[in-house]
């Protein structure tokens, strides 16, 4: 059990436009409370990392924010009424339709977002993520790294304002992880806000503007990596996490 005072340290985010404001979110499965009355804000122009160990409640939180898991209690406010049109989602399992090629999966998901893709645009997007050479292959036959990259392309097909990625680099080798981190940074540079979950503290330090640390369904820290480490006098986020969850 841990005993820590919840701390919010945000530098420079106070005047940013809120894209998502979730308050007192709670979700239980049978007798187990998976997300325990948490508040989550995602601001425009930020890369926010939701970190925690397996079972911390990250995927469930993301599911609630995406509207695919109904919360038991709490509210979620979006900056737009049509939030599903403005949010791109990548799920942990990176699912693709069986029997469809890479190209056809992109066309299908584009159709779900009401977007029509030209051949040139598809080729451009695939080329940008180094997947042009596999566009005719069945999507489920791609390597894990290729599937992760393809899943991120799917999140951007409709030019969303916010992209939510659930463990985008899980299971990848260091090169693959570096590629995903660069992709996330490129998304931010192109004006897309990002919320991603991870259990890799080093990755988070390299990429995130702000960190939401989860443990046993609760948010135990919220702030920029530097400010959190400075406040708790730790060398890195991993050390901070261990300290907060001792």
């Amino acid at each position: 059990m841990f005993n820590v005072e919840y701390t919010t340290i945000i530098k420079g985010g106070e005047n940013m436009k809120k894209l998502i404001s979730a308050s007192q979110l709670m979700k239980s499965y049978k007798t187990r409370c998976v997300v325990d009355h948490i508040d989550v804000d995602i601001n425009e122009g930020e890369i926010v990392a939701l970190v925690g160990t397996n079972g911390a409640g990250k995927t469930t939180t993301i599911g609630m924010l995406l509207g695919i898991i109904p919360q038991d209690s709490g509210t979620i406010k979006y900056w737009t009424s049509d939030y599903k049109k403005e949010i791109g989602a990548q799920l942990q399992t990176t699912p693709f339709f069986e029997g469809y090629s890479v190209e056809d999966n992109l066309k299908l998901f584009a159709a779900f977002y009401g977007v029509s893709l030209t051949k040139m645009l598809i080729d451009e997007k695939l080329a940008a993520f180094d997947l042009l050479q596999v566009k005719k292959l069945p999507a489920i036959k791609l390597s894990l790294g290729q599937q992760k990259r393809l899943a991120i392309i799917v999140t951007t097909l409709h030019n969303p304002k916010l992209v939510i990625l659930d463990e985008p680099s899980a299971g990848l080798d260091p090169r693959g992880q570096r590629e995903i981190q660069q992709i996330i940074k490129r998304l931010k540079d192109s004006g897309v806000s990002v919320l991603f979950s991870s259990d890799d503290m080093l990755e988070v330090m390299n990429v995130a503007d702000r960190v939401l640390m989860m443990h046993h369904g609760k948010i135990i820290a919220n702030g920029s990596p530097d400010s959190l480490m400075e406040h708790y006098q730790t060398q890195n986020l991993e050390e901070l996490f261990f300290e907060l969850t001792m």
């Binding site: 069986e98 056809d104 299908l108 584009a110 977002y113």
Partner: protein, 236 residues
């Protein structure tokens, strides 16, 4: 919707393994009947067409839907603005078109093998019957795939539903001498309505054809509602 329909149709028509077995089994049945019971072979054509459409539209699509759910793609669909009814209707329509194509292939083969004398009208009258029936069966397959947890459960549950529907119909033997309760079941059996519609198309019996079509349209509406209400995006 159009893009979803076209993409799924393209994918379904490229599945050579599935198409092969969906065509091979009816072909084998037609040839076997011609060889061993040549005097009655043409009496079974409607039944063979109906069964092949039924198996493709119900059993096959239920497994596809279950597989997609277990992969998690329906969860991702849930995160998009695509309304569920649009997705289900688009996908189901493409599968129904494949079912129609399969039935035409089986019918043409049967015409050749049994040297049947049929008019072009048969295609005209059979098509709406097969379209409506296969759509109903596909909608029902979504419902079935939402009930079960895995392929084993699906196989068992599908058999529990399909076998009585086949046996309580006039597909391969007459219901006239069957027990009363079997005959009552056949009256409310959608597969029997489908079969009657195909048989009516063969003999230009417009009254029975129209009756079957109306019953199947009612079945279509009911199964669409059931599939939408019971659809599960994930196993959780």
């Amino acid at each position: 919707m159009k893009a979803v329909f076209v993409l799924n149709l393209k994918s379904s028509l490229k599945d050579m393994y599935l198409l092969f077995w969906s065509i091979l089994m009816p072909f084998a049945a037609i040839i076997a009947l011609r060889l061993f019971v040549p005097n009655y072979a043409e009496n079974y054509v409607e039944g063979i067409i109906a069964v092949s459409v039924f198996f493709y539209s119900f059993m096959t699509t239920a497994f596809i839907a279950l597989s997609q759910r277990k992969r998690g793609v329906y969860n991702l669909l849930h995160a998009t603005p695509m309304p569920l009814w649009k997705y289900i209707i688009s996908i189901s329509s493409s599968w129904a078109i494949v079912a129609i194509i399969l039935s035409y292939i089986v019918l043409l083969f049967s015409i050749v093998i049994n040297r049947l004398d049929v008019s072009f009208n048969i295609f005209l009258y059979m098509t709406p019957i097969i379209l409506i029936a296969s759509l109903s069966f596909v909608f029902f397959s979504f419902f079935l795939s939402s009930l079960v947890k895995n392929e084993g459960h699906l196989s068992m549950t599908a058999n529990v539903l399909m076998i009585p529907m086949l046996l309580c119909s006039n597909a391969f033997f007459t219901m006239e001498k069957s027990p009363n309760f079997i005959q009552y079941i056949s009256l409310i059996n959608p597969f029997e309505w489908f079969l009657n519609g195909i048989k009516a198309a063969f003999i230009n019996n417009f009254s029975t054809w129209g009756e079957s079509l109306l019953l199947l349209i009612g079945c279509l509406a009911l199964t669409l509602i059931i599939s939408l209400k019971t659809f599960k995006y994930s196993d959780q």
